[in-house]
């Protein structure tokens, strides 16, 4: 946290100074009042009244002016702090690998970036300053009280004991409850997100009552924890209210007796009570500040849980830029395991893809095709062995140059809430209109021109809903628009109808002629694009060869593609 606070040290210091000066001005007022009561009032001297009253006015205005200064500075500092911390959190999250995001819900991350950061901002702008200011105020007032009349000061200072006692107990219990409330809020957000994004499935199965029940259950848990937290605060606040009240009572009793004995003037007593009143707010606010500090501590803990995760996939020291690539891709004894899995997703895979060659990956669901594809742009890193591009280990290349050389289309085509153009130029913002049009034409995505605002139409979650086939064609266009040296395509044509598929294939064949490509394939039809085929089973590479060779030699291969032995070109069911 400290590096983020450091740039704001002058502001924080100014806030503390302004607050302390305001306290000083506030302290002056009762002293002047004492002089009014003991001086002009006691002597019946109206003349001397005006300057003293003006002094009270001046001190009052100074106090508010300083309070204004403090809060004005606070606005800039606390929000600036929050903003830079949030920017860095976002940057860090973007740098964390896919494996991290597989584990974390975006709801959990969002509550860290928004709710938790807001809590910390409040603490920095308010709690932290007043923790210092209130302590100083308390000490100052008590010191002043000792000078006025020691026995009364002792009574006032004594009030610290129950206060400290109370807040200690409160701290412990509040910490536990507030953490629970925050976690349960995160759970509820996750449920809301799932219900919103999965609404079609929920409707299709008529499971609204089920998910509503789950949501109500989680909302009830949050309700109970929040009520518990509210009760805790209610009890604490009322007790914390009681302490200054009892202190004031003690001051009245002891003070009255002292006035009776002539040890204290009436003006002194009035001033004393005013001073004790100044202590009321610091004492009362203590509860809020402590709660805030606890919350901020929990929130900071949750945020640093993320910050402390070191991006496992990053530029290594001495990583080199890949200026241009011939597209020679090689897998050397590659083994890969998902971070928290025990089983190998890939093991002992050796594969050599020649520049310009299109290699299809064939295998059953779960055979490791997708895992293999994610290793090329380093969405995951190999567990053992190496992936090399132009003879260089991809881990020794800068991520940006590697990913510039590798274009990707996933089986689950994700579009962002942005214009079609922005989505297509995702990786190549400087591509020309011509390149863009070529990519659109190749992917048979001309439908984009018929959208309400053409290429400027917003798609994705917040925009126009497109069909699976349309999204898939956009994803394909996005992968090829920059003409990368290596293309990694995961079942790129699965959602297209036969007619469109044939058109895409024809156009894609031209693109693939001068790129190296790895294409995961489920259908024999897409194999038309491939020069060679690699056959995977259970994470192992069983064979590499042309489709004809594999189809002739391997029954398992034929089974995976659903083709007949005698007529390797035909699909069994249709023929």
């Amino acid at each position: 946290m400290r590096p983020y606070l450091r740039p704001y040290t002058p502001q924080l210091a100014a806030m503390v100074v302004a607050s302390l000066a305001a306290v000083g001005a506030a302290l002056g007022i009762p002293l002047v009042i004492r002089r009014i009561v003991d001086g002009p009032i006691a002597r019946g001297d109206s003349e001397a009244l005006l300057p003293l009253a003006l002094l009270v006015l001046l001190l009052g205005l100074a106090e508010t002016g300083l309070a204004f200064t403090r809060r004005w500075i606070q606005g800039g500092a606390a929000n600036g702090f929050e903003r830079s911390l949030r920017n860095d959190l976002y940057a860090h999250l973007q740098a964390l690998p896919t494996a991290f995001h597989d584990r974390w819900h975006s709801g959990q991350l969002l509550s860290r970036a928004m709710a938790d950061l807001a809590v910390i901002r409040r603490f920095v702008g308010f709690g932290l300053v007043f923790l210092v200011v209130n302590t100083v105020t308390f000490t100052l007032v008590i010191a002043l009280l000792f000078r006025l009349y020691a026995p009364l000061a002792l009574v006032t200072a004594g009030s610290v004991v129950p206060l400290a006692f109370l807040s200690q107990g409160f701290k412990r219990r509040y910490r536990a409850v507030s953490r629970r409330v925050q976690d349960e809020q995160g759970d509820l957000t996750t449920l809301a997100e799932e219900a919103a994004t999965g609404i079609r499935v929920i409707k299709a199965f008529g499971r609204s009552p089920l998910v509503s029940g789950r949501y109500a259950e989680a909302a009830r848990r949050l309700h109970d924890s929040a009520v518990e937290s509210a009760q805790l605060r209610a009890r604490f606040w009322s007790l914390i209210d009681l302490v200054p009240n009892l202190t004031l009572l003690g001051v009245l009793v002891v003070g009255a007796l002292a006035v009776g004995r002539g040890a204290l003037t009436l003006g002194g007593l009035v001033a004393f009570m005013s001073l004790v009143l100044i202590l009321v707010w610091p004492m009362e606010s203590l509860g809020g500040i402590i709660a805030n500090a606890r919350e901020a501590e929990t929130a900071a803990g949750r945020i640093f849980e993320v910050f402390d995760t070191v991006p496992a996939i990053a530029d290594r020291p001495g990583a080199v830029d890949l200026a241009s690539s011939s597209g020679q891709l090689r897998l050397e004894a590659v083994g890969f395991r998902y971070p928290d899995a025990e089983e190998w997703a890939l093991r002992g895979v050796d594969l050599d893809v020649r520049p310009g060659e299109t290699l299809a990956l064939v295998g059953t669901t779960g055979s490791g095709k997708t895992s293999l594809l994610t290793l090329v742009p380093r969405l995951y890193d190999v567990t053992e062995g190496a992936v090399t591009l132009d003879g260089r280990d991809v881990r020794g290349l800068t991520l940006s140059s590697l990913r510039r050389a590798v274009g990707v289309a996933f089986d689950d085509p994700l579009l962002f809430s942005a214009s079609v153009r922005e989505n297509l130029l995702l990786g190549w913002p400087d591509a020309t209109d011509r390149e863009l049009e070529t990519a659109i034409a190749t992917a048979q995505a001309d439908f984009v021109h018929d959208l309400p605002w053409g290429l400027d139409t917003r798609v994705g979650e917040q925009g126009l809903t497109l069909s699976g086939g349309q999204r898939q064609r956009l994803a394909l266009a996005r992968a090829i628009v920059g003409r990368p040296a290596v293309l990694v395509l995961d079942d790129p044509l699965s959602s297209l109808d036969v007619h469109t598929e044939a058109l895409v294939e024809e156009a894609l064949a031209r693109v693939l002629a001068d790129s190296t490509a790895l294409v995961a394939v489920h259908r024999p039809s897409t194999l038309a694009l491939a020069d060679r085929v690699a056959f995977l089973e259970g994470g192992r590479l069983l064979a590499v060869g042309t489709h004809t060779e594999l189809a002739a030699e391997l029954p398992a291969y034929r089974a995976v593609l659903g083709i007949d032995r005698d007529r390797p070109g035909r699909v069994g069911q249709v023929a």
């Binding site: 007022i29 799932e194 509503s212 009572l249 996933f410 979650e461 069911q573 249709v574």
Partner: protein
């Protein structure tokens, strides 16, 4: 709504919703609607709120007694003490003060605690009502409204109302009551001095009115900005694979920093407004105290009032202005809660386009296989673009029908109408003899299940996700369903078998694996009518073959509609319908149609050619 420079926002693209939001002038109506929602939320708590009002009045009385007792102590308790050392009055004052202080503490605890509970009850009520309402609303709504906005309604908007109930109401109640009680007591103590103190009020109300206007604007801007931050955050991290693969991080960072800066600026603006308002009221307070002191001291000198009264008045004045500053906080939370209420009441007044039948009209379908009939069905997503016109279709009970045709031909629309995701604009869809519109949702969903291409998985294990088809199913039944679709070995072979947690949106499974889960789910649901919309597109051949074997069993005795681009799926179909431009152009058994040399035969040839295998090396 957006005030940002259009040039820097161009990447966002244009969407219909932006144009919708630009419409205004509904403010008054919106407010009435919000009030109705608030009223309906608070009505169940009327009685609690009533006795809480009594508690808070008592609490205020106890609180107000304090300074008055101080005054009595100074004016009546101290003189006898000074004169002859008698402590009687002082002791009475002490006892009174003690009682008042204890009562104040107890009543505060009761009030804050009970109000906190009411607030949480209201939030719970609101959350569940909203959630259920979103579930009730039709797909046509969700397609327009987008999930990001649904989540925002359920989280940040509800929290804004929670904030108001949690602290805002407390602040308002205490501020108003201490204001009223202080004014009353001041008048009782010394009328001229009270009048002097009241002189501050015109100034205060001008300041407050100004602040309210400004902070209303500032808060709207802050909420717009925070929504942009949230969308950017959730979307880009949800799609982190694409972000990283396309080196989008820097651009994302720039966009995020821009929206985040806008959010910070909005926050700074509202903090600065509060910085003007809070100390502003205090400045007015300081002037009032100084003037009261000046006038009061004169009156004490003239013998018109006592030192005790002056001391008490000064104590009261402080109490008058402190809570006023809290009102700044209250206005802030009030503004955001009002904006949230506006949006929430709008959503809650949305009626589902596909309405639940009125209870007397609800009819049950007969058990066993059902026939399906489309009678003169017209349908359009947008009025100017008809998708189906006068469609007639009869599917006898137990028949499996495949819909074939190019993208956009209307296949999915037929499926969606049959699943009653939409209602026809004209004509009707009958299940057995019952119009779909007359079936209750539970009956409809028990009878008709649709499996779509996007196999959505929920947080939880593979078993949980399969059991989504029939939540009361035992583990054995779940495994039985997986076996039936040929996925048992695959699921059992996952790291923790059926208990493997699937990760965010099923991220730990491949799309093929996700589709198998969806299939097992549909199998377990065992509906009378099953619709498969491209459901097997991501399956590899062996799995698809397993699924097709399973389909033979599954579809036996069931009515089924299958949409597939892959003609291999047609293996299980008794009958093929070729759809083109929203019309059925061919209808017959697959082999008949293949032989007939029409559109289906052509499609079939294209398909056969496209699976012609790899380029010969």
């Amino acid at each position: 709504m957006s005030t940002a420079n259009p040039a820097t926002e161009a990447w966002r693209g244009v969407a219909a919703e932006v144009l919708e939001d630009a419409k205004g002038g509904l403010a008054a109506f919106l407010r009435a609607r919000s009030r109705r929602l608030l009223g309906s939320l608070l009505t169940p708590h009327r009685r609690t709120l009533c006795w809480l009002a009594v508690v808070v009045v008592l609490q205020t009385a106890a609180q107000t007694a304090g300074p008055y007792l101080v005054k009595v102590g100074i004016d009546r308790g101290i003189p006898p003490l000074v004169d002859d050392g008698s402590r009687g009055v002082l002791l009475l004052v002490v006892a009174g003060y003690l009682v008042a202080a204890l009562a104040q503490a107890a009543l505060t605890a009761v009030f804050v605690g009970a109000l906190g509970r009411v607030g949480q009850d209201v939030l719970y009520d609101l959350r569940t009502r909203l959630f259920e309402h979103f579930q009730r609303l039709s797909l046509s709504f969700h397609e327009k409204y987008t999930s990001g906005r649904v989540v925002a309604r359920l989280t940040s908007d509800v929290e804004a109302i929670g904030e108001l109930l949690d602290t805002g109401v407390n602040q308002l109640v205490f501020a108003v009551l201490s204001l009223v009680s202080t004014i009353v007591v001041m008048f009782v103590l010394d009328v001229p001095l009270a009048l002097v103190a009241l002189g501050a009020f015109p100034l205060l109300s001008v300041l407050t009115a100004w602040f309210r206007r400004q902070s209303s604007r500032a808060y709207r801007e802050a909420r717009t900005a925070v929504a942009l931050v949230i969308v950017q955050f959730v979307e880009s991290l949800g799609g982190i694979r694409a972000v990283q693969a396309f080196r989008r991080e820097a651009r994302n960072q720039a966009i995020f920093e821009q929206v985040n800066a806008r959010y910070a600026t909005a926050n700074i603006r509202s903090t600065h407004l509060a910085a003007l308002f809070g100390p502003g009221t205090r400045a007015i307070g300081s002037v009032t105290i100084a003037v009261t002191l000046f006038v009061g001291a004169h009156r004490v000198i003239d013998g018109a009032t006592t030192v005790g009264v002056l001391a008490a008045l000064l104590l009261y004045l402080r109490r008058l202005f402190e809570p006023m500053q809290d009102l700044a906080q209250f206005f802030n939370s009030f503004q955001s809660a009002a904006a949230a209420l506006e949006k929430l009441s709008g959503v809650l007044e949305e009626e589902p386009a596909v309405a639940e039948p009125a209870p007397p009209a609800a009819t049950a379908v007969a058990p066993g296989p059902l026939d399906v009939r489309f009678e003169g069905v017209d349908f359009a997503y947008r009025p100017d673009r008809p998708v189906l016109a006068g469609l007639d279709l009869f599917i006898p009970a137990g028949e499996t029908v495949a819909l074939v045709g190019e993208t956009g031909a209307g296949k999915s629309t037929i499926a969606r109408l049959l699943a009653r995701f939409y209602d026809p604009t004209r004509g009707r869809v009958l299940l057995g003899e019952v119009d779909l519109r007359h079936l209750s949702t539970p009956d409809l969903r028990a009878a008709v299940v649709m499996v779509t291409q996007e196999a959505f998985l929920f947080t939880g294990s593979v078993a949980d996700n399969v059991a989504f088809g029939r939540p009361e199913a035992s583990r054995a039944e779940v495994e039985g369903a997986a076996r039936a679709v040929g996925a048992h070995d695959l699921f059992a072979g996952l790291p923790e078998g059926y208990d493997t947690v699937v990760g965010t949106r099923g991220g730990r499974l491949s799309s093929g694996q996700r589709q198998l889960v969806a299939f097992a789910r549909a199998f377990l649901a065992a509906p009378q009518v099953l619709i498969l919309d491209e459901a097997s597109s991501s399956l590899d051949a062996p799995h698809e073959r397993l699924v097709q074997d399973a389909l033979h069993t599954l579809l036996a005795g069931r009515t089924a509609v299958i949409i597939a681009h892959r003609l291999s799926t047609l293996d299980v179909a008794d009958r093929v319908l070729v759809v083109d431009g929203g019309r059925i152009v061919e209808d017959g058994r697959p082999d008949e149609l293949r032989a007939a040399g029409g559109a289906f035969a052509r499609l079939n040839e294209e398909w056969a050619a496209s699976v012609g295998g790899a380029r010969e090396a």
